[in-house]
Amino acid sequence: MNDKTAVAKTHPDDVKEVSKVTRVLRPQVDIFEDTSGITLLADMPGVTKEQLNLKVDKETLSIEGDMDTRIPEGMEAVYSDVRTTRYQRSFVLSGEMDTEKIEAGLHDGVLSLRIPKRAELQPRKIEVRVE
């Protein structure tokens, strides 16, 4: 057991039976859309820029991150709401999203993603001329 898992430790049985991927945190998100794109905000406290992993594979956007928990040696967990140090969540994007132009920021444990729509697909205002 390394120092990262000390506070998040569970039963020894869990470790045997459950594969690594089951014990992940699902970051809570807000997602909203405006005319030029979609914004996604995800709560990922404890994650630094270096430990954040964002991927777009075809149309699946996956967000992964590991918490940087500075646990002193010999620490014993007495109470834990958070029982794992890994965040993971993914979303399926739609075709009009320009995955090449996604912008990401991470500030105080909040990830913000801006996924623009392809320029040619952005709604255009059609002027109606009245003669």
Partner: protein
């Protein structure tokens, strides 16, 4: 809603399995009785508490707040953490998910009896508030050498 069905890594059955394990942990094993001040699962913000012989560490997972809005106080062995998180709502945007916590929060944590309320430090990095409370010298285990 259906991403757990589409994404094999977070498959539906894994979620059920995890839930089952958590239920087992709560009911069957009940290794420690729950604290009188315990709150329901999913309360914001989540907290982890760890101890060593000389200090108690409290980790509060409060992303995206202004650290000056935090109000941390300690009375004997009761640590209270209160604050507010105000989310900016985009006017005219179409919301699909709105899961993140917005508003005021307060959590009270019972610390071990021997904490020293004069020696408390707190810092806020990457959305985690880390409070370190030293324990009183007398309470630490002492090695007794055999002559």
């Amino acid at each position: 809603m259906f991403d757990s069905l589409i994404n094999p890594e977070g498959s539906l059955f894994n979620d059920f399995r995890r839930m089952q394990l958590e239920m087992d942990e709560l009911i069957a094993n009940g290794r420690w009785p729950s604290s009188i001040r315990a709150v329901a699962q999913g309360t914001f913000p989540p907290i982890n508490v760890g101890t060593t012989p000389d200090r108690v560490d409290v980790f509060v997972f409060v992303p995206g707040i202004d650290s000056s809005s935090l109000d941390i106080s300690i009375q004997r062995n009761l640590l209270t953490i209160a604050g507010v998180r105000r989310l900016i709502t985009e006017e005219g945007a179409n919301y699909y998910r709105n899961e993140r916590f917005d508003g005021e929060f307060r959590r009270v944590i019972t610390l071990p009896e021997d904490v020293d309320q004069e020696h408390v430090e707190a810092d806020y990095t990457n959305g985690v508030l880390h409070v370190v409370i030293q324990r009183r010298e007398v309470a630490r285990p002492k090695q007794i050498p055999v002559n």
